[in-house]
Amino acid sequence: MKFAVIVFPGSNCDLDMYHAVKDELGEEAEYVWHDSTDLSGYDGILLPGGFSYGDYLRCGAIAQSSPVMDEVKKAAEAGKPVLGICNGFQILTEAGLLPGVLLRNKNLKFMCRTVGLKVENANTLFTNEYMAGQEIRIPIAHGEGNYYCDDATYEQLKNNNQIVFSYADDFNGSRNNIAGIVNERGNVLGMMPHPERAVSDLIGGSDGLSLFKSIVKQWREANVSHA
């Protein structure tokens, strides 16, 4: 399976994302610059964390208007897996690929630590290697991870099982502790925690690896014919 790691000016988790896919997972990965206009050769799209365009205007707002985002939208429409982590999540909401928005943390602090997450939906292409209700530990590193949406959107998320991860504790003010959501179709996931930073016990934990394994497993089942 071949992944594109989209790189914006100011992305800073692109190397971790590449490492997770290439070295820990053993799949193909390539960096793709934000002005690219063709993602047709990739099976999965990864939007890494960082501070694209210095978070100017609003986090993710300027990256959202990059040429490559039209291609990311096409990939999402084609049903390819699209994963946005941290700033990647912010870009996906600004682009309208996911509902809601990420606001400043309620205590106004940038927080960098490992937190407990609950797998709310283990029935997505991103979480089939987890168990429903499983508690995992994944690092977070954000100043604007306070997920906000209006009541109607929240009801919709809940009723469609689009809430995929929630925080064990409330520390940033996110509505109902939401840490990650998918689109209605289930092929676009945005999450604030960093699974790519938890892919080996050597770096403090491997709970994030199952997320990448889930994507590959689903893709193999759909695309590789068995003799």
Binding site: L57, A61, S65, L103, R104, L108, Y148, D150
Partner: protein
Amino acid sequence: MRKVKIYVTLRESVLDPQGSAVMGSLHKMGYGEVEDVRIGKYLELMITDDAGDVDALVNEMCQKLLTNTVIEDYRFEIEEAVSQ
């Protein structure tokens, strides 16, 4: 040239932790009469005379990039700018 002054404010339903922190600070300084603080943004655009319908243009730019209408409201004023 025309000068467009755009005021971006957080929607009333959205909490403003920055505004709350500033209000706390004002209270500590003795300004107990402050009941609420909301922090917004102010943008200025200079638009060329051949731009046509500036009103429609600015609305479009606000909706596509300058604001996020999930959490923000905006209003703007258009002024004739004197060229230097």
